[in-house]
Amino acid sequence: MRSESEIKLHDEIFSRLKSIIVDLLRVSQEKISVQIPEITIETDLVDDLGLDSVEMLDLTTAISAEFGVNPDAGQMINVRTIDDAVKYILELKSKS
């Protein structure tokens, strides 16, 4: 059972991560007339959003800049969903 502060931290990271991803998708689709789908905690970065390997690298860099953490590229391979990413960021923050 998570505490209120843990839930609050989780939600904050989710919100900031969502902004990063929306920003990444917009950068990657100038002039394309498709609407970005709603991003939820279950959203799969590859199967739902189609992030390719270069974009995953961009995401890794953006996470590093936004949260002041050092994600490992090898570990990022295991990050498939937004939930995976939030948990990984929390793990990195707890170690820093």
């Binding site: 998708l25 950068v27 990657s28 689709q29 100038e30 002039k31 394309i32 007339s33 498709v34 609407q35 970005i36 789908p37 590859v46 199967d47 739902d48 959003l49 189609g50 390719d52 270069v54 974009e55 961009d58």
Partner: protein, 414 residues
């Protein structure tokens, strides 16, 4: 192409035009002689003398593919992929049963994903290369759509993009025709796609003086072959056809729209922007097409002319068609459908081939709309303003591209 071996049949059609998605929408505007033009409302176009375009209203690529695919495609590719999917669905072909060396893909486009390249260049100027889209090179190069089509259809076959300016789609269709006709393959997925309603393209056309500057309403322009014509307006869209050998089509009891009977092309070897004033290249392209179809001038019922509405094209096209058909030209009904659909540039040949198929299938000729003033230099046997019922056995579609490229298709009732 003088020695055709296999009859080439059209067994599937997919189209996204300014009239909307699908054949029925296109058929309606052709039969009703209704313009698909609308105002260019984006602020980027506000200073251009061209005020109108033929834009696709309701098209959401997410209705046909997942977000993860659509977001990596330019608009040109989205249109082309969806039109090819619709054509395959229409044909009821089971692609998994076709060996990959018996099927090929040819697509014509002249601008491809130019808009995405330009947008990424702006990003580079404003924010540096680190903020550029890592996918632009793969998404937006001129050949990207045929790659996307092969991926979506799961075809490890030849898949090639043809760029001949406004003759691109006819050339793409023609190359597919030659491959099926020669027995090299059984199926060709052929067509064109174009999404050129962008400032760079329209601005350039404005500067070249080839677009209409009329401001009395989108429905009033363009005007092809008329005394008051002043240029074309740009359209967007995609059209694909399934070409199939007669043997293959009949073996699976395929629906048959028409026969693609002939193809010919040839260059003017004259100038990049101005057609040959005596129609030399057009004559050769048409002659080659008619020899490949084994027809003569008397056999043709309908000509879908290139008819862009520029002063020079329409004048020189009239001269060229008279050279091709001699006195018989006055027995052949002629129209340009660009006043209805706009000029779809590299994709115009695909849309117009489909229009010829619909004309044959439904026994009518779509009109040149906005025909209000004659021009003695353009005195062909035009269908003006209202469509006309007519049984059509043979239709010819003419398209010409910058660089003096001329490409002609012949379609025949089966």
């Amino acid at each position: 192409m003088l020695n055709s071996k296999a009859k080439v049949l059209i067994t599937g059609i997919g189209v996204i035009s300014p009239a909307g998605v699908g054949i029925d929408n296109l058929l309606q505007v052709l039969q009703e002689g209704k313009s698909t033009a609308s105002d260019l409302t984006d602020a980027e176009f506000s200073n251009f003398p061209l005020k109108y375009a033929c834009q696709i209203g309701n098209f959401n690529p997410l209705d046909y593919m997942k977000f993860k695919l659509a977001r990596h495609m330019t608009r040109c590719s989205q249109l082309g992929v969806v039109a090819s999917l619709l054509a395959v669905q229409d044909s009821k072909l089971n692609l998994s049963t076709i060996p990959s060396d018996r099927i090929q893909i040819y697509e014509g486009t002249s601008m491809g994903g130019l808009n995405n390249i330009l947008a990424d260049y702006e990003t580079f100027l404003e924010e540096g290369y680190q903020k550029m889209n890592p996918s632009t090179a793969a998404q937006a190069f001129i050949g990207s759509t045929t790659g996307e089509i092969a991926i979506v259809l799961g075809l490890r076959s030849r898949s090639i993009t043809i760029c001949s300016g406004s003759a691109s789609a006819n050339d793409a269709i023609g190359l597919g025709f030659e491959q099926v006709s020669s027995g090299t393959i059984d199926i060709a997925i052929v067509g064109g796609s174009e999404a050129p309603i962008i400032p760079a393209v329209i601005g350039s056309f404005c500067r070249a003086g080839v677009v209409s500057t009329r401001q009395d309403g989108p429905q009033m322009t363009p005007r092809a072959f008329t005394g008051d014509r002043d240029g074309f307006i740009v359209g967007e869209g995609a059209g694909f056809l399934i070409l199939e050998s007669e043997k293959h089509a009949k073996a699976r009891h395929a629906k048959i729209y028409a026969e693609l009977a002939g193809f010919g092309n040839g260059c003017d070897a004259y100038q990049m922007l101005v057609p040959h004033p005596e129609g030399e290249g057009v004559f050769l392209a048409a002659d080659r097409a008619m020899r490949s179809a084994r027809i003569s001038e008397e056999d043709v019922d309908y000509i879908n002319a290139h008819g862009t509405g520029t002063r020079l094209n329409d004048k020189y096209e009239t001269i060229a068609l008279k050279k091709v058909f001699k006195k018989n030209i006055f027995n052949i009904r002629v129209s340009s459908t660009k006043p209805i659909t706009g000029h779809l540039l590299g994709a115009c040949g695909a849309i117009e081939a489909i229009i010829c198929v619909l004309s044959i299938q439904h026994g009518f000729i779509p009109p040149i709309i906005n025909y209000l003033q004659t021009d003695p230099e353009c005195d062909l046997n035009f269908v003006k303003n209202k469509s006309e019922d007519k049984k059509i056995s043979v239709a010819m579609s003419f398209t010409y591209g910058f660089g003096g490229k001329n490409s002609v298709l012949i379609l025949r009732k089966v």
